[in-house]
């Protein structure tokens, strides 16, 4: 990972940050514009951090770049105060669990087998599961309410059950930070709320949560801090009330939007209006 040392004086790393980036720039080969440009952000330890933005604004690229899955051309990243060059994949997988947007399995696989893959970074090449591993797996399955599906094949599950299984696999890694890319995109209200409440409980227990989502209202309710991306740049960053402003959202989403205070939840409510 070729990173240049161009750290500006005003953005020093906060040693208590779980994820940190400064002046991050990612430009995919042959792309007309960079996917991320001058992105600086800090995800404090134990916080619930939500990343918002229109399609193609660089949310998923940010996740990948933070964990060194795509190379960056400028800027720096750190995970728990250490740059990516200090991490190997195995050590990183013990600290950071990821639920990507989607995955497809090549062969039939059961729920238990998929969740057990979360123990990969803890096991030797031919070592079998220790009692600690078994406990982590069953605990993760209970937390995500998939323990009753253990022997079911993934192909027989509903979309919500598959997502809960994937979250369970990330939890089985016993990570200190959990990164999720639109985990509730295809879920109904109940399943979505179940996952979000699980994430909130995990954050309350000290885990850092980094959630990419399109649901502005829910992000405002669950997250401590929001990051709004617009075409690879930071449009706004801060507490929900600071980020979810009418003018900002109208500009970023290119759509008339009204923001009011929701008396039921006490957080901003975002309502898209019609164009005319």
């Amino acid at each position: 990972m070729a990173t240049e040392s161009t750290e500006p004086a005003e953005t020093r790393n906060d040693a208590s940050a779980a994820l940190w980036a400064t002046e991050l720039r990612v430009h995919y080969p042959n792309a007309p514009a960079p996917a991320l440009d001058s992105v600086s952000m800090t995800v404090p330890r134990g916080s619930f951090y939500a990343v918002l933005g229109p399609n193609g604004s660089g949310k998923s690229t940010l996740l990948r770049a933070l964990l060194g899955m795509v190379p960056h051309q400028a800027g720096q990243t750190q995970v728990f105060g250490r740059p990516m060059s200090d991490w190997n994949r195995r050590a990183l997988a013990q600290e950071a669990g990821v639920v990507t947007q989607s995955e497809s399995v090549a062969f039939p696989i059961t729920v238990r087998e998929l969740v057990a893959m979360g123990r990969y970074p803890y096991l030797g090449a031919l070592q079998s599961e220790t009692p600690t591993d078994k406990e982590a797996i069953s605990e993760a399955m209970q937390m995500c309410d998939v323990d009753n599906l253990a022997q079911r094949y993934l192909s027989t599950l509903s979309g919500g059950e598959v997502q809960r299984t994937r979250v369970a696999r990330a939890l089985a890694q016993e990570p200190n930070v959990l990164l999720l890319d639109e985990p509730t995109a295809s879920l109904d209200v109940r399943h979505e709320m179940e996952i979000l409440e699980l994430l909130r409980a995990s954050a309350a227990a000290g885990m850092t949560v980094f959630l990419i989502t399109h649901h502005l209202d829910l992000a405002a309710r669950f997250a401590d801090r929001l990051l709004l991306l617009d075409r690879g740049r930071v449009a706004a960053e801060g507490e929900p009330e600071e980020v979810l402003r009418e003018e900002t959202l109208k500009r970023v989403y290119e759509w008339p939007i009204s923001v009011s205070n929701d008396p039921a939840t006490g957080v901003p409510r975002v309502t898209p209006l019609s164009r005319h």
Binding site: A106, L126, S155
Partner: protein, 337 residues
Amino acid sequence: MKPITWAAVLGLAVVLVFLLSILVGEADLTPGQVFAALLGEGDINDRRIVVGLRAPRAVMAILVGGGLSLSGAVFQALLRNPLAEPYILGISGGAATGAVLALTLGLAASLSWALPAAAFAGALVAIFLVLRVAATADDRVDVRVLLLAGVVVGAFFTACMAFVLSISDARTVRSAVLWMMGSLVGSDWRTVWMVTLYSIPAVIALVGLARPLNLLAIGEETAGYLGADVERVKRMAYVLASLLTAAGVAATGVIGFVGLIVPHSIRLLVGADYRVLLPLAFLAGAVFLMLADIAARTVLPPTEVPIGVITAFVGVPLFLLLLRRSVGAGAGTGVGA
């Protein structure tokens, strides 16, 4: 049945089919004569047949059948395609070109080791070319490019081989065609040792990669986030499985379908955990090829049917059955949001 039970059953089957394999043959030997010969007693000619011909042939079937089946399973994980097989990346084309050159230039007639050596060299050239083409600028291996590169390199070598054959005499063409259909005839202890030397380290190393191969089956990005060094695993798996295939092709010619249907069937029996699948696929491939060889020797005496014909006759219907089955079950592979 539990995996350990399957291992015991297949292990026992290897031993029993091995014994059957050395009991059956053109020369009419009684079981008593065969066992006496095995123990180094009895008639010198019996010993020559049993220890010098039948035993190395059966051991070769174990090595090549097990190796093809194991490398087929590895290619299926690597290419994330349950219908991949060991020859899919052009190894058979490279090996066949090498073999045909050795036959045409008359090297094979004068030197017994020239044909397997030339076939192995041809396979290595194909492996090298495919890997070079599939390596991207930032030194990653794109498995989709790997697949296309393999198919194209294979097609190129097939053209080379066809060209060489077109300027060869009829006898050479016949030898080449027979070689391409595969045969365990002429397996002697020396070739057995050479194949052992190449295969066994590759088999052990590939079984050691079982856990990261499991992760590859759910996708490279996720595998990376779960702690696997994806690029290293892909490269090692490709090179080792290719060497294993190349050793088999060099010794016995192109024997199809073993690497496709055996791992596929084992997956249906025990699931897709490669820690279990790889060793069982090796054992089952060994049994399958020994049985195919027995059939090749006994269905049409005194003629030997090429073993590749037998494996295709068994493999094609079985493959179609598995294909129908997986279509019926919806293949069960597309999940995620």
